[in-house]
Symmetry: C3
Subunit: 116 residues, 3 copies
């Protein structure tokens, strides 16, 4: 099976495609730093849409998502955005836990494994 | 490769099957909320058995497990239950770290990737 | 697809191979306990090299890596070691978050999914 990498930087690739499986790097809200968690989640989900499109996938094909919140009290706020974004009948496996992130301006990070 | 989802709710699916690989949502002890970590782990591993059976898999085929504990001091308590549950010769790759969970009544969460 | 496990202990296997995909257990710095995060990262990446070689893979084929730091302030220190180790043009998807680990002598843990 081939490996195809996109947006390949010196530290990580944003997209790694292995056969029919797509791995995305943990996404943060680069366009909404320091914003409330819901706004960061919106920014992140838009990035995921764009990256999945580049990978020949889309949000109906997400297999598994991991969500890290630097403050778990943001759980309801991010869920509101998430629930409006996912496609009914095609929701992925998911886990959401609290974890401090590398930069304090980001309070939400989302990792995704998808099919293509 | 086909994607098959089971127990598909508006936020997540409990089971997502992609070809020969099964992704489970992070499981918590819905029948043992607020119980000690070992009791929560027993409840969770029973849920995983049931979900894997529905997915055409079982605990001898787990590839990778991630365990989140809201208090890492529960490490020994959950390991006692885990060690008795896994099948010798078929133990998965595993990582176990501390992370606060969405609801304080749950102190253990387990995510699983399995083969079928 | 076959499942092949190596370094299979009573609690986990260090290597699980499913078809063309390799899952490693979360690696800690068994030879550098209590050392600074950078030294632990060096030890860990050496272990990952060895495990991937046993699995018929190598660091150019890593699909996704998850890094847990017990103190996110070690982010720069571990990145220095990581950036020198990854192979340009072949960097994986990656997420790095803070999480306390099971033993306080370890402050860095790395999980890997690779192709073979």
């Amino acid at each position: 099976m081939t490996i195809d990498r996109k947006h390949t930087g010196p530290r990580m690739s944003q997209i790694v495609i292995h056969g029919d499986t797509v791995y995305l790097a943990g996404q943060v809200a680069s366009d909404a730093p320091g914003q409330p968690a819901g706004a960061q989640m919106s920014d992140i989900l838009g990035r995921i849409d764009a990256l999945l499109a580049e990978a020949g996938s889309d949000k109906t094909k997400i297999l598994s998502a991991t969500i890290w919140l630097s403050d778990i009290r943001d759980f309801s706020a991010i869920n509101e955005v998430w629930d409006a974004w996912v496609v009914q009948g095609h929701t992925p496996a998911r886990a959401c836990v609290e974890a401090k992130l590398a930069m304090t301006k980001y309070t939400v990070e989302v990792g995704v494994v998808a099919a293509r």
